[in-house]
Symmetry: D2
Subunit: 331 residues, 4 copies
Amino acid sequence: MQRFALIGAGFIGAVHAASLAAHPEVDFVGVHDVDTTRAGTLATRFGARVLDGAEVFDASHLDAVFIASSTDTHAQHLRSAADAGLAVLCEKPIAADLAEAVAVSEHVRASGVPAMLDFNRRFDRDHAELQRVVASGGVGDVELMQLTSRGPSLPPSEYLRSSGGQLRDQTVHFFDLVRWISGQDPVSVFATGSALVDPSIREFGDVDTSVTTLTLPSGALVQIDSVRRTGYGYDERIEVMGATGLVESGRNRRGNLTRYSAGHVVLDGLHDGWFERVQPTYAATLAAFVAALEAGVEPPVSLDDGIRAQAIAEAASRSLTSARTEAIDYP
Amino acid sequence: MQRFALIGAGFIGAVHAASLAAHPEVDFVGVHDVDTTRAGTLATRFGARVLDGAEVFDASHLDAVFIASSTDTHAQHLRSAADAGLAVLCEKPIAADLAEAVAVSEHVRASGVPAMLDFNRRFDRDHAELQRVVASGGVGDVELMQLTSRGPSLPPSEYLRSSGGQLRDQTVHFFDLVRWISGQDPVSVFATGSALVDPSIREFGDVDTSVTTLTLPSGALVQIDSVRRTGYGYDERIEVMGATGLVESGRNRRGNLTRYSAGHVVLDGLHDGWFERVQPTYAATLAAFVAALEAGVEPPVSLDDGIRAQAIAEAASRSLTSARTEAIDYP
Amino acid sequence: MQRFALIGAGFIGAVHAASLAAHPEVDFVGVHDVDTTRAGTLATRFGARVLDGAEVFDASHLDAVFIASSTDTHAQHLRSAADAGLAVLCEKPIAADLAEAVAVSEHVRASGVPAMLDFNRRFDRDHAELQRVVASGGVGDVELMQLTSRGPSLPPSEYLRSSGGQLRDQTVHFFDLVRWISGQDPVSVFATGSALVDPSIREFGDVDTSVTTLTLPSGALVQIDSVRRTGYGYDERIEVMGATGLVESGRNRRGNLTRYSAGHVVLDGLHDGWFERVQPTYAATLAAFVAALEAGVEPPVSLDDGIRAQAIAEAASRSLTSARTEAIDYP
Amino acid sequence: MQRFALIGAGFIGAVHAASLAAHPEVDFVGVHDVDTTRAGTLATRFGARVLDGAEVFDASHLDAVFIASSTDTHAQHLRSAADAGLAVLCEKPIAADLAEAVAVSEHVRASGVPAMLDFNRRFDRDHAELQRVVASGGVGDVELMQLTSRGPSLPPSEYLRSSGGQLRDQTVHFFDLVRWISGQDPVSVFATGSALVDPSIREFGDVDTSVTTLTLPSGALVQIDSVRRTGYGYDERIEVMGATGLVESGRNRRGNLTRYSAGHVVLDGLHDGWFERVQPTYAATLAAFVAALEAGVEPPVSLDDGIRAQAIAEAASRSLTSARTEAIDYP
């Protein structure tokens, strides 16, 4: 049984609270949030306590802490957890600044606490099956990968302004998937993009529709498209072509009803929102972390995985401006 | 908030216990089972108490009771719940004997307690969408329905011996679906079957592979096939053809991975077992019952629905022997 | 090279003329029709001659004759071809009357000429693959078959009046497919039907929507549904479930375009008419006949196959009236 | 009726000969080839004559000429046809050298003869439907296009050596599709590639696996992947995402058989070869050219379309070396 505290009682904090409460090997001790009212509501709902800033890192009654607070607090909370000797599961990114992320990561590593970054898409049932097929040689040597990341609606302008741009904020998940699925660290990247949905975001250098090309050390090529707003729901898709075949984690429809009429066959559409598609991955991510803690093995996603995905996003963002292939430097 | 007791702590009782514990409007008070050890284990797991035979019908601390005990106890528990003034949700059937089922149903109706039969397949997401399409005229007047009910493995011989036969035990769910989807009570039935998987079940007059044809008052026709053991997993499928189109609640695959190789495209298969396919319907059924209680309206499936499906099964079973169309008599 | 005459220059005659003209091993000599103008038009279009009633059976300049004239002339033309020593490919049925069909078939067999009935659906690419899978044990022993035969529109009343009824006219093709795919002659049949599209056809005892259940000697069961008019195009589908798996020749859509919009995914619909779906089978049927002639082997569909399918249709038609299972007597 | 001569009696010439012979509005007069034996065989098979180098451009007995000879002869034959006043349908490219192509195109335009380039993929049934959907605003303003061009096997080294490289030889068809579908001329291009199948082709600067990114004047983005050898057959796919939806011309499977077994659903695979997939487009291309001639309107694909696609290929080929975005200059 692992005793957990949760930091952050916002939307995603509430999602994690439900996972913590439902997991049979987790004792969900308490919630901390700078907004104590919000923390209280969430704690009550799941039979946990409200924890203050000291209690949430008190190893006498905790084994692990789940960091789901705002991005700018991740680094500090990671350091605190490490100093307290608590295992830590953290939402991405470690820190918006890559150098800071590296420093924190080294601090945590030095402490020896188990740490995992919440790259939840690795725990999507279909993506995980795809990774197993590729890793076990099911399509032969990887030659071409295509990843589609398309959200249904543009986030608010304030969010975008502090997001670091589409490639660092949205595409970074898929940079991680590329590394994980291929088992390779891309060597170079080209990216280009447009602000088609809201031209005003160009003012702070952002794009809402972009395509990225990565080259792997083996010469294999990767195409990623990132879209902030589709007209047809949430669309996420991965295909991997190898020398002997292709495997695809396809678009997910929200149901399996089919209607035939004159001239047309109509199926249920894609999910309206990203959350409906992604929801099952949160509990699966937590389960993987808990299983690692119970088994005393390394969690399946490291802080270094986060740093490497971030390094790709940095190079991709440079390419957006330079209009040329950029080498990727991993710290 | 509805205070519930659960009767029956076997496999399906445990499924319902999880639904009761997770429902935000339910206070899961306690569990009763003739096997008190089993009841205790389940109660502990979900933070409920063990209730004895009197406590489980005590309206001073309960609003509703969920009957998930063995089939031969349903009738008595339904009467007890009615006498205690408790709302009741009951696994099918009311009673194996149709006359007894009618008597119990009338007893419950006279008491005025809300009662619902757990025809859970009505709460399958796709089946429910299909019913809405048909009921709203989406395919025009119904002309032809096809229902497929195929389990992955033959139940044990002891189970089959006391099951009443495939049509009463397995197909009865689909007789209910026909009535619900078409909004009509079938007038006649023809059925034929074979014992292809285990010829020895012929000794007690049973079949493991059967087809049933129903005629609705409108002249519309219905084909149902019932199979106890497939070689390819659990297969449930409904299609409804009307004058202007067709709607289908299709076979459900367990994932959405696709593999292309020379000559073939391989998709994830159907679910291995019935439970994986049907699981979400249990919580949905409970939710519908609770919603009806909270709103003070009739629950969406009545005991009479159970009796009518059973009456169809009786006539179908007669046809199996007579090799001719049998009229259906509803009590 | 096989020298062919064609009898019948109507719609289906024109289809066969195109196949004859395009086949590299066929010398399309001429066309005969009681309407010589129609024969002339067709002959001109495909570089053939008009043949009179004697020339069309003249073995000095012909090897084979293709009978595509009206149903009531098939028997006589088959006898003439046999007497002339010409190989013969004939549209179904041999004769509307089963006894007459048997007599003609024996006459042709006695003559020793190669003869084939044009059960063209056996030459559908997908159906033929399905048959190979089943025949090679790909699904284990056959346990359950489902066949769907649904046309897009009700034929004219005059046609229906002389058609012999839906089971003899439409379903007979699928009785043949059942025999061919299962490799078994059904032993008994139950059928029921309704006149839902045009109630007036009840006056001459016909139905437009019917379901048929066949039992094979192995105990395997077969469901066939026959529909004269759908609201969604031409629908033909076969599935065969065996002890170890299932194989399906699915609904054919007219193209492969997919449109995603909010809430829906829209595919190309089924073919509007039966001809678009079935067209490629005509050339394939001819090719199979020519290949048999060239190889000096028995053609793949015999006149006896026609008689056996007709015998099933007779028993099924009796069941429509008797409302009970009827034994099938093969002549 | 249009009188046609065919130049070139190789593999693709034979394909066009069959189309010419089958078209009801075409009088297939004769065939010219430097290999007169080959020309004779083809002429005999389709009831045409062998034409010498003068006869094939003799407007006294011809209306049009179809150029299907080797690439290096296209330019000269186009000039000869123009000088003779013959309509001309020509395989791509006009000339390997872009400047030469421009000169020839201007010569032909000046002559006033109807001329069409055989960009046959525009006449694929699904691609053409997709184009209509996009052009009619069915997905809103185009924002992102993805095109997949994957052949099943690497062409012989000699072919590759003189092909101009993958982007000029294979991808050029898809550059044309991009222009046609979007109705826009791309402004810039980035391409990168690898020699994964046969590293030796790097010696002459070629690649066998490449990805190309185009930017349209509207800011819309295009991703194209080009693969010479897959392990799973011939794969061609187009999707167009607009502001309100997405339309896809999907992977084509060679049949519609589905097999269910434990754990898997197996569909028919993609076509083994490119020709099976593309074959119907040849007759459709010819039909469109003939229809334009009969109607006296401009053929639907101009020589200028060929030049523009070639100009994109030139810029893309430059990018392969420069590793940066290249502007596209249209002559």
